[in-house]
C-alpha cells in the first residue's frame, strides 16, 4: 500500500496505459467493459487521494520524478491544486461514462471489436490524464498525441450509424495533427533558446536569463521566443477548439458514438483548456504573456466571438447533437474568457466552469445518447413529445439546459457569477455584456429543445418506446443531479477552484 501511495502520480497514467494493452489482448466477451470499469474506478480513487494530498501539503505541490532522474534531466510529474482538480474531473466523468457506455456502445459498434473500443478508451484516458499531470513540455506533446490518435479512432467508430463519422474523423485528424505539430514546433523554438523541456525550468530560464536582456542584447532570442509562443498558442487553441479554430469540433462530436461524444465533450476540450492555462500561467508567466505580449487581447476577442457565434450557431441547428456541439464552442468561450481576464475571480470562473460544464454537458450528451439508443436519431423532430415517454432522461436534459443558460441554483450560475464579477473587476463591461447576451441565446436554443420535448406531439405512427435501461439512466441522472447539487452547494467546488486560481497567480492560498 505504501508503494502505491508513493507512486500515485505515475500510477494514474501507467495503470490505464497497461490496462489498455491488456484489454486489447484479453478483453473479449464482455471482459473489456469490466477491465475498463475497474481501471477508471481505480483512477478515480487515486485522483481523489491526490487532490487531498495536494490540498493538505504545505507547498500545495506534489512532485514525482520518473525513474529517479532528477528534473530537468528526467521527466517530472507535478501535481498542484489546478491539475489535481482537472484529474478529478477527467477520472470522475470517465468513470460515470464508462458505466453508461456498456449498453450504449454495444448497440453502436460491431460486438466482435468491443475490446478494441475499450482499449482505445483507456488509451484516450491515459493521454488526457498524462497531459494533465506532466510537468514536462515535450512529454505533454507525446501524451497529447496519444489521446488525440485514440480520439480520432473513437470518433470514426460512429460509422455504423452514420458514414459521415469517417469524414469527421479524418477532418479532425488533419486539423488535430496540425495543432499538435504547431505546439511541438513551439516547444522546439523554446528549447533552442532555453535548452530545457521542463515547464518550470523553462519558466525559470526565461525569467532569469532571457527576459532581462530580450529587448536590447538578444534580438535573435526575441524573435525565436515570440514565434514559439505564437505557435504554441495557435496549436493549443486548435486543441481547445477556440473560435475561429473550432472547425473540427461540431462534426466530430455529432457523428461519434454517444458515449464518446459525452466523454470528449466533458473532458477532451477541458484538458486542452488546462494545457493552455498551464502554458500561459506556468510556462510563460502571466506578466510576460499578458502585460507585454497582449495575448489576452487576442484571447478575449476570440472568446467573445466564440460565445456569440457558438451560441448563435447552436440556435440554428436542427440536429440536437450538433446543437450541443456548437453550444460547447460557446462554453469554451466562457472558459477562455475567464483565464484571459487574468485575475483571481476570472481564473476561478475558468476552473469552476471546467468542472461545471463537464457535468452539465456530459449529462446532456448522455441523455441524448439515450434518445439515440431508443429512437435511433437525435434530430429535433425525434424529440417531439418525449417528455412523456422518457420522463427521467428528459428531466436530466432539461436540468443540463438550465445549467447552460446559467439559471440560479444550477452549476452554470455559479460559473457565470464568478465570470461576470471578474469582468467588472477588470472594467471589461463589454465582455460582461457578451456573457449575458450569450446566456440569452442559450435560453433560446435550450427553449427550442425543451418546447419540442414537453409541448411537441409525438407522431401517431411512431413506435412505442420506454424509459432507458437502468445502467444508462443512473449515470445520466448522476451527472444531471450533480450539476444541480453543485449549483446549490458550491462551497467545495469553489474552494478548490479558488485554491487553483490563487496558486497559479501566486497570491498565496
Amino acid at each position: 500500500m505504501e508503494l502505491v501511495h508513493k507512486n500515485l502520480p505515475a500510477l494514474i497514467v501507467v495503470l490505464p496505459l497497461c490496462m489498455g494493452l491488456i484489454t486489447s489482448i484479453i478483453g473479449r466477451r464482455g471482459l473489456g467493459w469490466w477491465l475498463a470499469m475497474g481501471t477508471t474506478s481505480a483512477v478515480l480513487a487515486m485522483s481523489v487521494q491526490l487532490l487531498v494530498n495536494v490540498l493538505e501539503s504545505g507547498t500545495q505541490t506534489v512532485t514525482y520524478v520518473m525513474g529517479s532522474w532528477p528534473v530537468p534531466f528526467g521527466i517530472g510529474y507535478v501535481v498542484d491544486p489546478l491539475n489535481a482538480a482537472v484529474l478529478l474531473i477527467v477520472s470522475m466523468i470517465a468513470t460515470v461514462v464508462t458505466l453508461y457506455a456498456r449498453k450504449s456502445i454495444a448497440s453502436e459498434i460491431d460486438p466482435r471489436r468491443l475490446h478494441f473500443f475499450y482499449a482505445l478508451w483507456l488509451f484516450c484516458m491515459t493521454g488526457l490524464l498524462g497531459i494533465t499531470i506532466t510537468g514536462d513540455a515535450f512529454n505533454l506533446y507525446v501524451l497529447l498525441e496519444i489521446s488525440s490518435l485514440s480520439t480520432y479512432t473513437l470518433v470514426a467508430l460512429g460509422r455504423n450509424r452514420n458514414r459521415r463519422a469517417l469524414t469527421a474523423a479524418i477532418n479532425y485528424l488533419v486539423l488535430g495533427s496540425i495543432g499538435a505539430n504547431f505546439y511541438l514546433l513551439g516547444i522546439a523554438y523554446l528549447y533552442q533558446v532555453t535548452g530545457s523541456l521542463n515547464i518550470a525550468d523553462i519558466h525559470h530560464i526565461l525569467t532569469t536569463q532571457v527576459f532581462p536582456t530580450w529587448s536590447t542584447d538578444a534580438p535573435m532570442y526575441r524573435t525565436t521566443v515570440f514565434v514559439g509562443f505564437a505557435l504554441m498558442a495557435v496549436g493549443l487553441s486548435l486543441k481547445l477548439a477556440l473560435f475561429p479554430l473550432h472547425g473540427w469540433l461540431p462534426n466530430a462530436y455529432t457523428y461519434a458514438p454517444s458515449s464518446v461524444s459525452a466523454l470528449l465533450a466533458s473532458t477532451a476540450t477541458k484538458v486542452g483548456a488546462y494545457a493552455f492555462i498551464r502554458v500561459l500561467f506556468t510556462l510563460v508567466g502571466v506578466n510576460f504573456a499578458f502585460k507585454l505580449l497582449h495575448t489576452d487581447t487576442v484571447l478575449m476577442i476570440s472568446a467573445g466571438a466564440a460565445i456569440l457565434m457558438g451560441s448563435w450557431l447552436a440556435f440554428r441547428q436542427t440536429n440536437i447533437k450538433k446543437l450541443l456541439a456548437y453550444s460547447s464552442i460557446g462554453q469554451i468561450g466562457y472558459i477562455t474568457l475567464g483565464f484571459a481576464l487574468g485575475n483571481v475571480n476570472g481564473l476561478t470562473a475558468s476552473v469552476i466552469h471546467l468542472f461545471n460544464h463537464a457535468l452539465t454537458k456530459g449529462g446532456m450528451f448522455m441523455a441524448l445518447g439515450i434518445v439515440a439508443y431508443r429512437t435511433g436519431h437525435t434530430r429535433l423532430q425525434d424529440l417531439q413529445g418525449l417528455g412523456r415517454k422518457l420522463p427521467f432522461t428528459m428531466a436530466a436534459f432539461t436540468a443540463g439546459g438550465l445549467g447552460l443558460i446559467g439559471v440560479p441554483l444550477t452549476a452554470g450560475f455559479v460559473s457565470k457569477w464568478y465570470l461576470v464579477s471578474a469582468c467588472f473587476e477588470q472594467g471589461r463591461y463589454e465582455m460582461a455584456a457578451i456573457v449575458l447576451v450569450g446566456s440569452l441565446i442559450a435560453l433560446l436554443y435550450t427553449w427550442k429543445v425543451v418546447e419540442a420535448i414537453y409541448f411537441g406531439k409525438r407522431p401517431e405512427d411512431a413506435p412505442a418506446i420506454k424509459e432507458a435501461p437502468i445502467t444508462m439512466l443512473v449515470p445520466t441522472l448522476l451527472l444531471a443531479g450533480a450539476s444541480i447539487y453543485f449549483g446549490i452547494d458550491a462551497s467545495t467546488s469553489s474552494r478548490i477552484a479558488t485554491a487553483a486560481a490563487k496558486f497559479l497567480l501566486g497570491v498565496g492560498p
Binding site: L175, S215, A230, G247, L293, T297, L436, L443, F455
Partner: protein, 603 residues
C-alpha cells in the same frame, strides 16, 4: 437553522413538491394548510425579527430578514393563496396548484430577502412559477402568451442581475461591510444628478424591477398574458408579480422622483386602454396597470404617509383585484365567453357574482366605505401634504399639483372602466339570452369572503393601518380618513364620472376590436420589418458580395468558362482547406500582435 428563522417561502415551495405527490383529499388539505402555515411562520419571523445567514460562494446570504413593508405584503400574499385555492377547489388542472405554490413561494421569498442575491433567486423562481401557471390556462393563446411573458421577464431578470453585480462590486470596492445588502438606494433620490456610469447598476436594478411592475414601455405584458390564464389561474397571477415589484421598489427606491412619472403614465395608460377594451379580463388587466401606477406614485413621493398609502393600497388592491378577477372568471366559467359584446343581462341568474363584482368595482374606484377609499385617499393626502410642505419652503411644487390632478382624473376613469362599464355590459345592457346557473359553492365562498374583506377594511381600516411600514403615521391618518371633505370630494367626483358614462354610452358600446399597444412594435412591426425590408436588403447585399467574391474571380480564370453546375461551390463544414487557412491567419494575428503591439523600449 432553528424554527424561529425558517424561511416562510420554503413552506410554499415544499408544497410544490408535496402536492403533486399527494392524491385526493390529502391534496386539498395540503393546499389549504400550507398558506396558513406560511402565514404563521411569517408572523413568527416578523415578531421575533429573525435573521438567518447562509454561506454561498464565499458570501453570506440572508434569506430571512424583515423589511418595514414585509408584514403587510406577507399577510396579504398568504390570504391571497388561501382565497385562490378555495376558488380553484372545483377545478381539475394538474399543474396549476404546484405552479401557484412555486409562484407564491417565490414572491414570499422576495419579501423576506435581506440580500440582493436571494432576492434575485426568488425573483426568478417567481418567473418560472408564473410562466407555468399561464401555460396551464390552456386557452387559445396561452402557450404563446406564456412564452412572451417568459421572454420579457427573463430579459428583466438579466437587467436585474447585471445591476446587482455592478452594485455589489462597487460596494466591495468602496469597502462596504455588507455589500450584498438589499436596502434603500439613498443616492438615487434626485434624478438628474445620478445619470452616470457610477449609478448604472442602480438604474439597471430599477429597470429590472419596473419590468415586473408593468411600467412603460413594458406594460403590455400584463394585458397580454393574464387573460390567458384559467379562471382560477388569473386570480393567482393578478396578485404577485406586480406587487412584489411594488414591494422591492418601495424598499430600494422610495422617494425616487422618476418613479412618480412612471406611475402617472401607468395610471393614465390603464384607464385609456381600459375604456377601449372589449374583453372583460383584459379590461381588468389594464386597470391593474392603472392601480400599480397609483402605488408607484406613492413610492415616488416617498414621505412616510405616501409609503404607507402605497403599501396599504397594495393590500387592498390585491384583495379587490382578485375579487374582480374571481367574478369575471366566474362569468367566463359559467358562459365560456369573455367579450362584452357577447354578454349582457346576466343579473337574472348570477346575482351573487354581480354583487361581488359591484363591491370589487366600488373598491377599485375608491368609493367610501370600501377598502379602496381608506387606502388610496392616503396617497392623495400625502401628495397634498407634500405640496403644501414644499410650498411653505418656497420650492417648486408644480409637478405635485399636476400629479394630483392626473391622479384624481385616473381615479374617476377607473370608476367608469372597472365598475360602471364592466357591471353594465356584463350584467345589464341588452339581454344576450344567456341563462347560466350561479357558480359552485366554493367559488361563491371565495368571492363573498374577499368582498367582506373589502367592506370590512372600508369601515374599520384600523387592523390594516396597524401593519403598515410606518404605523404611527397611519394611525394619525385614521382620525381624518372619513373627514367630510374627503368623502364629499370622492362622492362628487364618482357621481359625475358615473353620469358621464351613461351620457357617452353610445360611444362606448363595445365591438369586436383589438386595441393596438406598444407591443405591436415587437410582435408585428419588427417581424414584418425583418421579413419585408431587412431580409431583401440583406439578400441584395449578399448578391453584391457574391459578385465580388465569386463571379469576378471566376471570370478571371479558365474555370469561369465552365457551366455553373460544374463549378465547385464554396466548401461547407466538411472541407479542411478553410480551417487550415484560418489557422494560418490566426498565427499571423498572433505574430502581428506580438511584434507590433509591443511597448517600445523593452521590459
Amino acid at each position: 437553522m432553528q424554527m424561529t428563522d425558517f424561511p416562510p417561502a420554503l413552506i410554499l415551495l415544499a408544497g410544490a413538491l408535496l402536492i403533486p405527490a399527494a392524491k385526493g383529499r390529502l391534496r386539498w388539505i395540503l393546499a389549504f394548510a400550507l398558506p396558513v402555515l406560511a402565514l404563521a411562520d411569517a408572523w413568527q419571523v416578523i415578531t421575533v425579527g429573525a435573521e438567518s445567514h447562509v454561506p454561498f460562494l464565499g458570501m453570506t446570504l440572508n434569506p430571512v430578514h424583515v423589511h418595514p413593508a414585509t408584514p403587510v405584503f406577507a399577510t396579504v400574499f398568504a390570504i391571497m393563496v388561501l382565497g385562490g385555492v378555495l376558488y380553484a377547489f372545483n377545478q381539475k388542472r394538474e399543474h396549476e396548484l404546484p405552479a401557484a405554490c412555486v409562484y407564491a413561494g417565490g414572491a414570499l421569498g422576495v419579501l423576506f430577502s435581506g440580500d440582493l442575491v436571494s432576492m434575485f433567486i426568488f425573483w426568478e423562481v417567481m418567473t418560472l412559477g408564473s410562466t407555468v401557471l399561464i401555460w396551464s390556462g390552456k386557452r387559445d393563446d396561452s402557450q404563446g402568451a406564456g412564452l412572451r411573458y417568459f421572454g420579457m421577464h427573463a430579459a428583466g431578470g438579466v437587467m436585474l442581475l447585471m445591476g446587482i453585480i455592478i452594485v455589489v462590486s462597487q460596494r466591495v470596492q468602496a469597502g462596504d461591510p455588507d455589500p450584498l445588502a438589499f436596502r434603500h438606494f439613498e443616492s438615487m433620490i434626485t434624478l438628474w444628478s445620478t445619470l452616470g456610469w457610477d449609478s448604472a447598476g442602480m438604474w439597471l436594478i430599477l429597470l429590472g424591477m419596473l419590468v415586473n411592475a408593468g411600467a412603460p414601455p413594458f406594460s403590455s405584458w400584463i394585458p397580454d398574458s393574464y387573460p390567458q390564464g384559467s379562471p382560477s389561474g388569473t386570480v393567482i397571477l393578478s396578485a404577485f408579480t406586480t406587487k412584489t415589484a411594488v414591494f422591492t421598489l418601495m424598499t430600494a427606491f422610495a422617494g425616487v422622483e422618476v418613479v412618480i412619472y412612471f406611475g402617472l403614465y401607468m395610471a393614465i395608460y390603464g384607464v385609456v386602454y381600459g375604456i377601449l377594451e372589449n374583453d372583460i379580463r383584459r379590461l381588468l388587466s389594464y386597470s391593474l396597470v392603472n392601480q400599480v401606477g397609483f402605488m408607484l406614485v406613492g413610492i415616488g413621493i416617498g414621505t412616510h404617509l405616501s409609503i404607507d398609502g402605497a403599501a396599504g393600497h397594495a393590500f387592498a388592491h390585491i384583495i379587490y383585484k382578485a375579487l374582480l378577477f374571481m367574478a369575471t372568471g366566474s362569468v367566463l366559467w359559467a358562459t365560456g365567453r369573455s367579450k362584452m359584446n357577447q354578454l349582457g343581462g346576466l343579473y337574472r341568474t348570477m346575482p351573487i357574482t354581480m354583487w361581488c363584482l359591484i363591491i370589487g368595482g366600488l373598491s377599485i374606484s375608491g368609493f367610501p366605505l370600501t377598502s379602496g377609499f381608506t387606502s388610496k385617499s392616503m396617497v392623495v393626502q400625502a401628495i397634498t401634504d407634500e405640496a403644501a410642505r414644499m410650498a411653505a419652503l418656497g420650492q417648486s411644487h408644480t409637478y405635485l399639483i399636476i400629479t394630483w390632478i392626473l391622479f384624481e382624473a385616473a381615479t374617476a376613469g377607473v370608476f367608469i372602466d372597472a365598475c360602471v362599464k364592466l357591471t353594465w355590459f356584463v350584467f345589464f345592457q341588452k339581454d344576450s339570452g344567456l341563462r347560466p346557473p350561479e357558480v359552485p359553492w366554493n367559488m361563491r365562498a371565495a368571492m363573498i369572503g374577499f368582498a367582506a374583506i373589502c367592506v370590512f377594511l372600508g369601515i374599520f381600516p384600523g387592523p390594516l393601518y396597524a401593519i403598515l411600514p410606518y404605523q404611527g403615521e397611519a394611525a394619525e391618518y385614521a382620525k381624518v380618513v372619513y373627514s367630510v371633505d374627503h368623502v364629499m370630494l370622492m362622492l362628487g367626483m364618482l357621481l359625475f364620472a358615473g353620469l358621464s358614462f351613461f351620457v357617452l354610452l353610445p360611444l362606448l358600446k363595445r365591438t369586436e376590436t383589438i386595441t393596438l399597444d406598444i407591443d405591436w412594435i415587437w410582435r408585428r412591426f419588427i417581424p414584418k420589418f425583418w421579413h419585408d425590408v431587412a431580409t431583401p436588403l440583406l439578400e441584395s447585399l449578399d448578391r453584391a458580395q457574391k459578385t465580388v467574391l465569386e463571379w469576378l474571380p471566376s471570370r478571371a480564370t479558365e474555370e469561369g468558362a465552365l457551366p455553373v453546375q460544374v463549378r465547385r461551390r464554396l466548401p461547407g463544414t466538411w472541407a479542411v482547406s478553410v480551417p487550415v487557412l484560418v489557422i494560418v491567419l490566426m498565427l499571423l494575428t498572433y505574430l502581428v500582435v506580438y511584434f507590433w503591439l509591443l511597448p517600445r523600449g523593452g521590459a
